[in-house]
Amino acid sequence: MLLEIFDPKAAPKPIGIDLGTTNSLVARMRDDRPVAIADCDLETLVPSAVHYGAHGEILVGRDAMRVAAVDPRNTIVSVKRLMGRGADDAETRRLSTFEFVAPTSEAEKKSVRFKVQGKVMTPIEVSADILRKLKQLATDELARVGGAVITVPAYFDDAQRQATKDAGKLAGLDVLRLLNEPTAAALAYGLDKKKDGLFAVYDLGGGTFDVTVLRLEDGVFEVKSTGGDSQLGGDDMDRALGEVLLATIVGGAPIEGAAPELVRVALDAARRAKHALTDAETVELELPVRGKSEGAVVTVTRADFDALIQPIVERTGVACRRALRDAGVKPGELDGVILVGGSTRVPYVKRYVEETFGKAPLDDIDPDQVVALGAAIQAHVLAGEGDKADVLLLDVLPLSLGIETMGGVVERILPRNTTIPTGARQVFTTYADKQTGFDLHVVQGERELAVDNRSLARFTLKGIPPMPAGMARLEITFKVDADGLLEVAAKEITTGIEQTVEVKPSYGLSDEEVESMLLAALDHGEEDLAARRLIEERVEGERVLGATQKALEIDADLLDAAERGVIETSVSELATALRGTSAGVIHAKVELLDDATKAWAGRRMDRAVEKAIAGKTVGAIEEGVADARGVDAHVAEHAERAAQRRGD
């Protein structure tokens, strides 16, 4: 390894983050290879636990775990399970270990809140504390952290993705992209080098199980199907063996009433045994026995352990077969199976995976690190440092998006497995005479009734001119970006009076909320916020400047002299602004350059399209590109046509 000398002016380096339920970690590229970043104890895994002290001190990771046993109320673990959950969600009620706070307003219902040290917190803030710790680890090693790729389970819905992105923002990270965990694992294995193939990713973590079928074709990754069980993992194995050990520890008394400390002893011993049995055939455990001064020595063989965990592991098979069925794939058709998650180290699990998929799994990358390593590769590619010509990740919508209609039935607007980014428009009419408001309820899920699906947003389109029922025409536009995040706009198109409401789904944080959370988190409030804004504007400014200069090297021939002059002036003005300290001036110059390059950017995109399909019906393409003006133009045209129809 080359010695990296601390340099405050060092170029920012991209990082990849696996924000896990049980453990998290951060990775980066070094000499073209992804490596996990370790702390001063050479540990790479950071337990996803945060402890909030009585005087505002925050412990993250192993330090938090150490105090978890004595102060469980103020130690938040497995917060990932609560990400994007509303206060009324069934999942929230089931996970009752924290002191949940009842929502006091409609706005507060959109996120779970719990009380820690007298302070009300959201899962987003807790996750941000974990991310801050990871960012700190990365900063210690890299001097400056650039953009970040954060991984999420493939099945995460819009609310959960939005919450993850908000947490990144809150932690001061420039989130380049949310990446699906199985896709990240596939990238870490370099499967993108293979060009084509069909892969399954089997991810058994501490408390969750996910299985995903991925297809790689011509350098493009596609998630074909995904499934799993959010309450299944290595912890269940510990519990299964722990119960047996506990029977010895309590010395014949019923295990149900055992003191929590004894349960802890049994679970710890079970975990030690599980780890030992990965390599050894038998393990001897010394256990204390209640009421006796002499402990007992218990021998556990691998066969004993396998028999205990068999029912747990078999539950993963159901999800695997379902995922294969959803993808329309037979086990024999798979080109490879990837193991992710610490629990896949268990030999019985490996054997079971091999039987289920009919193929020996790939396991030569540390299953705890593989996702973060893949995220680091993708961050590198997105930051423009890698060979970006080759890999492209095409993700799909994990769950259908729809609107609640009369009778509580869902009208599906975008079906699941639609490639993202995507958009759709749907026209609704009023159902009562002189109706001036229209309630919209956006849901995500596969069930027929709105109440059975995940509620994403509710809003009212107001100011519809009074008309007979069915006359007003409301056009709802959905837009889903490459991270799977949704934006909804509604418009009344009949009268030519257009009203557009942009709706960020209701669980996310508004910019104001993020700002006030930031203020609360920073010691010098306003001052720090201004400094942060300057940093953010500089990052954007440098990005725009770099991108423009690069584009000038390649595509200057698409500019006429006048255009080029304007762009060059704007470039030098921005460069000057970047040397100054005014966030406002930088922002203004970025916008100026943005404007100056807009038409050119369109031409460059046309050229990229032509190159991509070189030699194939180019005439038709030019027409196609001229036609592809984006959703906004379509909506406008649609309104026009609707107006024409009324004129008939």
Binding site: L382, R425, Q426, K616, A628, V631
Partner: protein, 176 residues
Amino acid sequence: MTGVSTNAFATLGLEPKFGYAREELERRHKELSKALHPDRYVSAPAAERRMALSRAIEVNEAFRRLKDPVKRAEEVLRVAGVAVGETAEPKAAPDLLMEMMESREALADAARKRDTATIAKLGGEMTAREERLLGKLGGILDGDGSKDAALPILGELRYTRRFLDEVAAQEEALLG
């Protein structure tokens, strides 16, 4: 009703015709995605990022429309100036309606009895029928004659499609 405005064929740079293999459409979709996907524009200025997003959405929407044979047929007809959509098309023949009702009853009956073999058989028959209809449709749409003759076939396809959706839903429910 979905607001459809652009010509999906033009967006993908393809001649408007019905007879495309799924692989051809997928290949073109991937080629265009490689040029327009927002990931390619992460370090680009904001205006360019927005433009790339809009165009990628266009391409994905067009692909979604064209890979579904029923929607692709609608698109061919729309480009040729024939009105499509269930309200614009001729009403279904009474014997088709009767036949579909009987098939649906048989399906509901099999579902009640949890008879997966019969459900699979009904699905298989309908799939074969759909294949035949698609073949016929292709002949008309890509032929030289009037395209109006495609409308009744398109109507019938809507019924077979709904039936197959129902089969998938029942199988999903029974297999769990």
